[in-house]
Structures are given as structure tokens and as C-alpha cells.
């Protein structure tokens, strides 16, 4: 339906091909430019995957630190929120100046964008353990660390997956923007070059490839969630 509507609109509306190519043109570009697209894709996919891992690590460390220390919570939480208002086009060129065209500045951008949607639900999960549950654990002899390990961490696991799925959805945009700020390879670089060359179909093909990757990552996370946190999806009797 969507594709059909797009095809009809692109052919009948008189919008120029280099503004909106028809799906058939995009399909053709996918085939013709497959080598080019694949090379760009492997670069960007690597950035997204590693950036997400970095975001995950940073988010977990921050969430646990902020959870364990109310002082840190007051001091750091506003900063975390503020970090999300820094526009990528402002910070990305700066990172390029500091770190060059290499992988690292892209990872920083992806991680910066992705850690926040992970931190928030994880923190809520850690703090969401019922007070009665904590009392019970105390009378069973649990230390603070054991409460974290045996109760709070598993309680935060569904939140971790929710956050990771949100992060996957924004990671691709972050990687593309980071590449457009300064790089010599990747999907963002390919799009930046394709547009002035009026190869719009190729740019769209790149978008399709990246979207498929995001959808695949999302599906993999959903699968892992069902495996690792099955209780979050079962209804209590």
C-alpha cells in the first residue's frame, strides 16, 4: 500500500526524480550500487553496533552509580538531561577537530545520543523495587550489594531492553549525522555525496539498507528480551 502510493505519487505528481525517486528507481539503485552500499553499510553498521555497546556500558555504569548515591542523582541527573539538548551538528564538528575522521568521534556521537534512553528506564527499574521487598531481603540477611544483584538488577532488565530498543531507533540517525560532519566513508558520507550528484535514488537506497539494519537489530533485541526476561511478558495468575 505504502509502496504503491509512493510509486503512484512519484510518477504522477510531477515531482522531480532527484527530489523523490520512485520505489522502482530505489530498487534498481539497490542492485546497481550494491558494492558501494555494502562497503558503506559495514562501516556505519560497525559504528552503530560499537556506539550502542558504548552507550550500554556508560548507561549501566551511570544508572547504578546514580541509583546508589542520592547525592550523585541530584548532581548528575540534570546534566544527563542537558546532554541530550546539545545538537549533534554543533558537537560533531568539534569532535572531528579533536579526533579526526576516524571511528572514535562517531562512536562518541552514537553513544551520546543512545545512552539517555537506556539510563532512564534502567534507573526506574532499579528504583521500582517495592519497599516491602527490600524489607524482606534485609530480614533474609541481604547486604546492599546483594539487594542490587539479586533483586534490583533483574527488576531493571526489562527496562534495559526497552531502553536498548529506543536507542536502536535513534542510533542510525546519530551515526549518519556524525559521518556527515566529517568522514570519508559510511552511509552518511555516501548520502552526502549522492545528493549533489543528483543520485537521489542511491541515497534512498542507502536509507533502505540502514532501516533494514535497524529493524533487524530491534527484532534481535526483542528476541533476546523474550529469552532473558520472560517474566516481563507473562501475566501473573
Amino acid at each position: 500500500m505504502l509502496l504503491g502510493g509512493w510509486q503512484l505519487y512519484a510518477q504522477l505528481s510531477g515531482v522531480d526524480d532527484f527530489l523523490l525517486p520512485a520505489p522502482t528507481d530505489v530498487g534498481a539503485a539497490l542492485v546497481e550500487d550494491r558494492a558501494l552500499l555494502w562497503d558503506a553499510f559495514t562501516v556505519t553498521a560497525g559504528e552503530i553496533a560499537l556506539g550502542l555497546l558504548l552507550a550500554l556500558g556508560a548507561a549501566l555504569a551511570l544508572a547504578v552509580a546514580v541509583h546508589l548515591s542520592p547525592t550523585l542523582r541530584r548532581a548528575v541527573y540534570p546534566l544527563l538531561v542537558a546532554s541530550q539538548t546539545v545538537p549533534i551538528p554543533i558537537i560533531a564538528p568539534l569532535l572531528v577537530v579533536w579526533f579526526g575522521f576516524a571511528l572514535f568521534p562517531k562512536l562518541v556521537i552514537v553513544a551520546l545520543v543512545c545512552f539517555f534512553p537506556i539510563v532512564v528506564p534502567v534507573l526506574d527499574g532499579l528504583a521500582g523495587v517495592a519497599p516491602e521487598q527490600r524489607k524482606l531481603l534485609r530480614t533474609l540477611g541481604a547486604t546492599r550489594w546483594q539487594v542490587l544483584r539479586h533483586v534490583e538488577a533483574p527488576s531493571a532488565l526489562p527496562g534495559l531492553f526497552t531502553g536498548a530498543k529506543l536507542a536502536v531507533a535513534v542510533a542510525a540517525i546519530a551515526a549518519v549525522l556524525a559521518e556527515q560532519a566529517g568522514s570519508s566513508e559510511g552511509i552518511g558520507h555516501l548520502i552526502t555525496q549522492a545528493i549533489p550528484q543528483l543520485e537521489t535514488a542511491r541515497a534512498w537506497a542507502a536509507v533502505v539498507v540502514l532501516s533494514l539494519f535497524s529493524v533487524a537489530l530491534f527484532a534481535a533485541l526483542a528476541l533476546a528480551e523474550r529469552r532473558l526476561a520472560p517474566w516481563a511478558h507473562r501475566h501473573p495468575s
Partner: protein, 253 residues
């Protein structure tokens, strides 16, 4: 069900621990939360091996009393001595990601036992207390009564001499509750402990306890103590049980 021999053994153990003094001693305890007084000048002793039920209207500070005994709260005045107490709250609070046996063995894991060792210690109790075959069930696969049984095993396996049961069957339907009362009486005959049982169900108190302590409406104070010198197992229809139940109900009014 407790046989007469088991009851005799339990009585003997009770007497032996009693010789060493009370397992729980609460003296002149007052506790308030902000401007709300929960308990005023409450004194209570529980001998080793004794089962004491505390009954009282809702909000009379029963749960507060248990939290004081378990060391989760400090009294505003008076003092609390207990020989190591563990709490069983009204909600089972089983961890949904652990199997029944791992939930029951949680305290052993917290004390440093390996998962396998903790399970090995818990397994005989599953068999002895009618939970065999449910070791690997997830909490959400168990009925309310079964979940309470697992929660009780978790309490037992904490290895503390005093069990503080806070309305353990309060959330169950009447039929399941009657089953659970019989089950608990049997379990305690098998695994004698000092028990402080809080309930708003007077009949439950008379069926299970050696002594019933009646608390007044908030702020709670002890208004009466009723000794239940009846042989076990007891049934709700026995005239002696009914008479004590009536006596306790009268004290509550």
C-alpha cells in the same frame, strides 16, 4: 498433621528453649510515625518454641510490631530483644525470575551457598511439606496457596530461630486459607520454631497459637492475653476452639 508424638516432641523442645529464656522480649515499646502513634507501651514475651498470635483491628500497629521484632524499625521508647527474626510478609513477594526452589533457597544463596548447594538444602523440605514436583515451577505458574507455601519455606530456610508471620494468609480465599492453616500447623509441628503470627482472623489465631495476644485499636496496646491450651491438630468446629474464639472476639470489641 501433627501426630501426638510430634506434638510431644515439640512441647519438649519448647520447654527446653524456654529454659534459656524468652526468644522475643518486647518491653514498654512505643512507636509513632510522625504524629500517628502506632504502638503505645506494648510489652510481650514469646518463649522459645512458642507460637504466639497477635490479633487486633486493622491499623493497630500489628505489622509495626513485627518490623520492630525483625529489627527493621527502632522503637521510640522501650526495648526489643529478639534471638534473630525473619519476616514473612502478607504478599508472597516471590521473585518472578526464580523458580520455586530458588525462591525458597534465597536466604541460603545470600549466605554464600552455591546455587546447587542451596537447592540441595531446600529440596527435602519441598518433599516433606507437600511441594514435591513444584521445585522448578515459576511463581506465576503457582496458585496463591502454593506461593504462600514457597514463601513460608523461604522464611524457614533463613535459618533464624524466630519467624514473624504478617497475615500470611490474608490475601487468600476462605477455602485455601483453611487448607493453609492446617498445612502451617503441620509444617510447624515438623519444623518447630518460635513464631509470632500477626492476623486479623481470630479463628486462625486460636487454631494455630499457644497464646493469643489482643491489641486495641490504634495506638495499639495489649488488652488481653488468652492461653490456648488445646491439643493439636485443632479444628474450627471444636467447642473449645469456638469458645476461645468468642472470648478473643469479645476482647477485640
Amino acid at each position: 498433621m501433627a501426630t501426638q508424638t510430634e506434638a510431644a516432641v515439640q512441647g519438649l523442645e519448647g520447654a527446653l528453649t524456654h529454659a534459656r529464656g524468652p526468644a522475643v522480649r518486647v518491653r514498654g515499646v512505643t512507636k509513632a510515625f510522625g504524629s500517628v502513634a502506632a504502638l503505645t507501651d506494648v510489652s510481650l514475651e514469646v518463649a522459645g518454641g512458642e507460637i504466639v498470635a497477635v490479633v487486633g483491628p486493622s491499623g493497630c500497629g500489628k505489622s509495626t510490631l513485627l518490623e520492630l521484632v525483625c529489627g527493621l524499625l527502632a522503637p521510640d521508647a522501650g526495648d526489643v530483644e529478639a534471638a534473630g527474626a525473619v519476616l514473612m510478609p502478607q504478599r508472597d513477594l516471590l521473585l518472578p525470575w526464580l523458580s520455586a526452589i530458588d525462591n525458597a533457597a534465597l536466604a541460603l544463596r545470600l549466605a554464600g551457598a552455591s546455587k546447587a548447594a542451596a537447592r540441595d538444602r531446600a529440596r527435602p523440605l519441598f518433599a516433606a511439606l507437600g511441594l514435591e514436583g513444584f521445585e522448578h515451577a515459576r511463581p506465576d505458574e503457582l496458585s496463591g496457596g502454593m506461593r504462600q507455601r514457597v514463601a513460608f519455606l523461604r522464611t524457614l530456610l533463613a535459618g533464624k530461630p524466630v519467624l514473624c508471620l504478617d497475615e500470611p494468609f490474608g490475601a487468600l480465599d476462605a477455602i485455601t486459607r483453611a487448607d493453609m492453616q492446617a498445612w502451617l500447623a503441620g509444617a510447624l509441628a515438623r519444623e518447630p520454631r518460635t513464631v509470632l503470627l500477626v492476623t486479623h482472623d481470630v479463628e486462625e489465631a486460636v487454631l494455630l497459637a499457644d497464646r493469643v495476644v489482643v491489641l486495641s485499636p490504634r495506638p495499639g496496646r495489649v488488652t488481653q492475653e488468652i492461653a490456648v491450651d488445646l491439643p493439636r491438630p485443632r479444628t474450627a468446629t471444636e467447642p473449645a476452639v469456638a469458645a476461645l474464639r468468642a472470648q478473643a472476639l469479645k476482647a477485640l470489641r
